[in-house]
Every structure is written in structure tokens, then in C-alpha cells.
Amino acid sequence: MNKVQNNKAWLLVLPVFLLVAFSAIIPLMTVVNYSVQDIFDQNNAYFVGLEWYQEVMSVPRLQDSLARQFFYSGTVLLIEVPLGICVALMMPTRGWTASLSLIVLALPLLIPWNVVGTIWQIFARSDIGLLGYVINGIGIDYNYTNNSVDAWFTVLLMDVWHWTSLIALLCYSGLRAIPDAYYQAARIDRASSWAIFRYIQLPKLQGVLIIGVLLRFMDSFMIYTEPFVLTGGGPGNSTTFLSQTLTKMAIGQFDIGPAAAFSIIYFLIVLLVSWLFFTTITHLDKDKVKEQSHD
């Protein structure tokens, strides 16, 4: 759409700008401010430059939780994206079953995050939970409170339960937007269902999948409440993710300087990965279009 150049449009944007600036710029500047100072009390603060940044990069506890965080987000994406696409392909397209499956799928998305943790805590406990009871019943020793592999399994399963629906609903809406003519053409060509998926459905899903992967990456990278309620970060530190380490540092031990420096690094990682992903995808797209036009 061709837009009109008009700087008065700023007046319409101003409320959003002021509101978000109040909630974002002031706190962010506070964090930056803390991250370059050593604060003893209100009247004694010293400028230390980038010292905290250098220090936090070499703290093993932070490196460990950063590595765990990347592994977690990667695993979550690898499971949820394909599974979400499959679920979207299986969903009924019309009638009351379509409405029902939409409501059922959207259900986990609307449960407060700590209740999600509570649900899985209750569901997976080996004494009172159905899942834990059944797994132990078939002869596998399972206890997520003192075995770190079991804890990881439970946290991952919880995240898959909680968020696959988001990918599925995004893909479902993407699939609904494909015109029937495409399928008719495929039927005339006697395309296999794999070919229909690969050459019609998947390309049309690209837009919603970019949104889905970005949202899932950002949210899984910032995860705090659910594992905190479910495992409390344990056993040991095995399911302690970045947000939790950070909150412990800032509020538990009151190491404000290092915590602030680490916050900035954390924010920058999320920004950088999201930006890299987005630009790579859009560039790949442009190259493809170019190649096709050369043919």
C-alpha cells in the first residue's frame, strides 16, 4: 500500500511512545546505570566502567545456566515446531469439531504460568500424580524431584504441553488462508499428499512459522515461572535457567552491579538471536526469488 508522508502522524503515535518509554526506557536506563557502578549505599557509588561485564562473563554459574538455556530453547523449538505443524494438519476444518478442537488447543495458553507449573507438579509426582504413578507402574524408576534427567524430561514435556498449541494455532490459521484452487490444481496433477505439503502448504506457512519460532524462542529463553514452580531449579542446579539465576543474584544476594551487567547481556542475546534469525530468513527468501527470476 502506498502511504502518505505526514509527520503529524507522530501525534497519533505519541501516547504509545510515552507509555512504553515510561515502562521501558526509564527502567532500562536504571539497569544500565547500575551495571557501570559499584554501589555500597545510597551515597556511595563508584563508576567502575565495564568491570562488571568482564566479571560476569567468567562466572561459571552463569555460563552453565546460559548453556542450559540455549540447549533448552533449541530442544523446545525442535520438538514444538514439527509437532505443531502436524497437529495443525490434523485439525478438523469445519463443523463443531473444529470449534471444539480450537478451544481445547487454546486452553493451555490461557492458564497462568505458575498454575501450569502446579498442574504438572501434581500430575507428575510419583505418589499422587497420574503420570509419575503410571511411569513407575510400568517398571521405570521415575522421580523428577531427585533425578536430573527425569526433571529435564518433565520440564520439557510441560513446555511441549503448554506451547505446542501456539505453533499449531498459528499454522492452522495459515492453512485456512490457502485458496481451494491450489488443492484442485494439485489433485489434477495427482500430487501425493507429501508433495502437497512440501510445495503448497509449507511455503504458505512460512509467514506464520517465522512469527511462531520468534515468539517461542523469546519466551522459552525468558522462561522463569513454570520450572520454578515445578522443580525449583533442582535437583541441584540442573533445571535452573537464566532468569532464575538472574533473579537470585539481584534480589536474593543483592549483587546489583553484576546482576545489571548480566541483564544487559541477556537482553542483547535475545535481541541478537531474534534479529539474526529474522534477517537470515528474509534474505534467503530474497535470494530464492532472485534465482527463480533468473531461470
Partner: protein
């Protein structure tokens, strides 16, 4: 093929519903029954756990607090995001792309980063432990998303409609409210759904910014874990009650979900 699909979707739905069923099941049991042994449905059906919540103001006020700030957040979000989304979808102006991208980056800021500064900021302006503080804090996530969604829906409405209205002598305000908003009503519904969703489920900021008067239900739930162990029954009942508003909201927007989840962009 279709049979396999049906089996697939039914088994996935079962996977989604089973943990929720377990929570509901447990909320109708007494604590003795819960710890006594495993049963697939309540043997001695009881409403005692729900009674605890409905008769204690410190419990049920938590629900009112949560609903209050969620509604407040949705209203603020809509009021500021509607004109901004219109500006982004219709006009070019200095710094528009940068501003749009900057708005979206706020969605990427880990809430844990903002805990301490938020606490200090809202304390210093005297808003600590008020509903408006939580609503404003949640605007950090809901406003960027709302602008993005609404911009998508508005761009789908042809410019000619605006121009015809101006030629016909409508003022901007009149046109916007009487003619334009009805055209994007499903977009507004979806925006409300998303602001509700992200504000209702968030706990970290809500808990940090409140102590007594505006404490959300999700934070009150933690007190079922006492010295004598966990009060599983009441915990489960409180959990079940937090799911109900979500079910209501999704029921009302179910017909817009397909379009809405694509953020108006397909």
C-alpha cells in the same frame, strides 16, 4: 488418511486435557484421599476446597485483583494502540520504521531484567501495590503486540474508504470511531484476547509490584504451601478457578481465532 487424522487429533487433545482433568479431579478430593492413594475419580466427592476459597476474602479478593488489572491493561492497551496502529498503517513519518522495531524489542526484554527497576520506579511515583501499576507494567508486552496486530488488520482495509469519508465531510474522530472501528472489529477482538492472555498468565512482574491490596490470585496460591506440608486440595481448586476466565474468553473469540492467530497477516 482422515481416520488417522482423527485418531491423531483425538490423542493430542487427550494429552492436553489429561493434566487438566487430574487437577479438576484433585480439587474435589479431601487431602486425606489425595495422599491416601491414587484414584481416577473422587471417591468421596467434596466441595470443601472450593468453600475455603469462596468464604475467605483474602482468597477471593485475589481473583478480583487479577481481573481488575487485566481489564485495566486491556483498556489502556486498546486506547493507545488504536491511533498508533492507524498511523503506522496509513502514514510515513520521520523514524516510523525505527519506532516500530523499537516497540517490538520491548517484547524481547526478559521480565527478570526489569524486576528491580520496576519496583523502584513504581515505588518512587507512589504506585506500588496498586492495580494500575501492574496494568502499566504489563503494557510493556501488550502494547507492542497490540500495535502489531492492529496494524495488520488496518492495512487490510483499503485507503479509499478513509478518503471517501473525508470527502463526504466526516471529521477524523467521527470517521475513526463510527466507520473505521466497525471494519476492524475482529482485529479488536483478537487484540483484547492477546492482551488478556499475556496479562492474565504473567506472574513475575505482578507479584513484584504488589504486596497486599492488589495481589494477584496466582501469587496468593503459594500460601497453600505451609509448615505442615502442601494443602493439595485447595491448591488444585484455586488452579481450576484460574482456568475458567480463560475458557470464557476463548469461547467468545473462537470464530476469530483462525484469522487472529495469523495476526491479520494472511
Amino acid at each position: 488418511m482422515t481416520r488417522n487424522k482423527r485418531i491423531g487429533i483425538i490423542s493430542y487433545s487427550a494429552f492436553v486435557l489429561l493434566p487438566i482433568y487430574w487437577l479438576i479431579n484433585m480439587s474435589f478430593k479431601s487431602n486425606e484421599e489425595i495422599t491416601g492413594g491414587l484414584s481416577l475419580w473422587p471417591q468421596q466427592f467434596t466441595f470443601a476446597n472450593y468453600q475455603v476459597i469462596f468464604t475467605d476474602p483474602s482468597w477471593y479478593n485475589g481473583y478480583f485483583n487479577s481481573i481488575y488489572y487485566v481489564v485495566l491493561n486491556s483498556v489502556i492497551t486498546l486506547v493507545v494502540a488504536l491511533p498508533a496502529a492507524y498511523a503506522f498503517s496509513r502514514y510515513k513519518f520521520v523514524g516510523d520504521k525505527h519506532l516500530f522495531f523499537w516497540l517490538l524489542t520491548n517484547r524481547m526484554a526478559p521480565p527478570a531484567v526489569f524486576l528491580l527497576p520496576f519496583f523502584q520506579l513504581y515505588s518512587s511515583v507512589g504506585l506500588f501495590d496498586t492495580h494500575i501499576a501492574v496494568a502499566l507494567a504489563h503494557c510493556l508486552f501488550s502494547v507492542p503486540l497490540a500495535v502489531w496486530i492492529l496494524e495488520g488488520f488496518m492495512s487490510a482495509v483499503p485507503r479509499e474508504i478513509d478518503e471517501t469519508a473525508y470527502i463526504d465531510g466526516y471529521s477524523f474522530g467521527h470517521f475513526f470511531i463510527r466507520l473505521f472501528l466497525p471494519l476492524i472489529s475482529s482485529g479488536i477482538g483478537v487484540t483484547i484476547f492477546f492482551s488478556f492472555m499475556f496479562s492474565w498468565v504473567e506472574l513475575l512482574l505482578a507479584r513484584t509490584l504488589t504486596s497486599v491490596n492488589a495481589k494477584p490470585i496466582a501469587a496468593i496460591m503459594t500460601r497453600t504451601i505451609g509448615a505442615s506440608g502442601v494443602d493439595w486440595g485447595v491448591l488444585a481448586a484455586a488452579g481450576v478457578l484460574t482456568i475458567i476466565p480463560g475458557v470464557l474468553v476463548i469461547y467468545f473469540v473462537r470464530n476469530h481465532v483462525a484469522k487472529g492467530f495469523a495476526l491479520g497477516r494472511v
